[in-house]
């Protein structure tokens, strides 16, 4: 892995047509400007993990009702009679 130090306003190039510029950096994080061809997808890495987590959440491996006991909830049995 290559680790570079950049000052605010400085850039780096990846290949011939991707340019990353450090716009500002502070306690809250750094702001980057990325110049790249439209064909190159740029995603925050958290987004990829969020998609994975959602796919898992859409694919239950046991009955959700089993969670009720863990959550200390009352099942809706009274209603059904």
């Amino acid at each position: 892995m290559l680790i570079l130090r950049r000052k605010v306003g400085e850039s780096l190039l990846i290949g011939e047509n991707i340019k990353v510029t450090l716009l500002d950096a502070g306690d809250g994080g750094a702001r980057l400007a990325i110049d790249a061809p439209k064909s190159i997808p740029i995603l925050r890495s958290e987004l990829v993990h969020a998609v994975d987590a959602n796919r898992d959440a859409a694919n239950e491996q046991s009955q959700p009702q089993d969670l009720l006991q863990m959550l200390g909830a009352r099942e809706e049995r009274e209603k059904e009679e």
Binding site: A58, Q63, M70, L71
Partner: protein
């Protein structure tokens, strides 16, 4: 109106029951309308049921039941999209990955569903890295049971 659901068979619902997700959920950008169908009477566990895809349901949990000190804060542009000025004006639900055994299930506290008074909803990725995408439900429960 009637719709088929993953857990409750065919059900009847009204326009006012529909939650609108203008941008969908992460990885499910084309799913824009859902119902919240309760598994329990006390509002802790729901099926977030897609209206478009009968087989698609997410298990949604009231995150404050699991983690009473949960404090999700949206970014200014997200608050603007939701039409509120403060995160406290929103309702929050966390999606649960239900595992076998159920004790291994995990909760995504990093990417809650935020809902406003008009039932417009969006999923966000919180900046706060205290919250993970895969909190063990059983862990959270233990922590809650510990005396302060």
């Amino acid at each position: 109106m009637k719709t088929n659901t993953k857990y409750f068979g065919e059900i009847e619902y009204g326009e006012e029951d529909v939650y609108t997700f203008p941008k969908g959920l992460f990885g499910f950008e084309d799913e824009n309308a859902f119902l919240m169908l309760p598994f329990s009477a006390d509002g802790t566990l729901f099926s977030l049921q897609s209206l478009k895809t009968a087989g698609l349901s997410f298990v949604a949990v009231d995150p404050f039941t699991v983690k009473p000190d949960y404090a999700p804060e949206l970014q200014p542009d997200e608050l603007k999209e939701m039409g509120v000025s403060d995160s406290h004006e929103l309702f929050f639900y966390a999606l649960c990955a239900v595992k076998d055994p159920a004790a291994n299930s995990t909760l995504n506290l990093r990417c809650p569903i935020a809902i406003n008074d008009s039932r417009v909803a969006m999923q966000v990725i919180l900046e706060d890295d205290r919250y993970g995408m895969r909190h063990l439900l059983s862990d959270a429960e233990k922590r809650e049971a510990e005396p302060c």
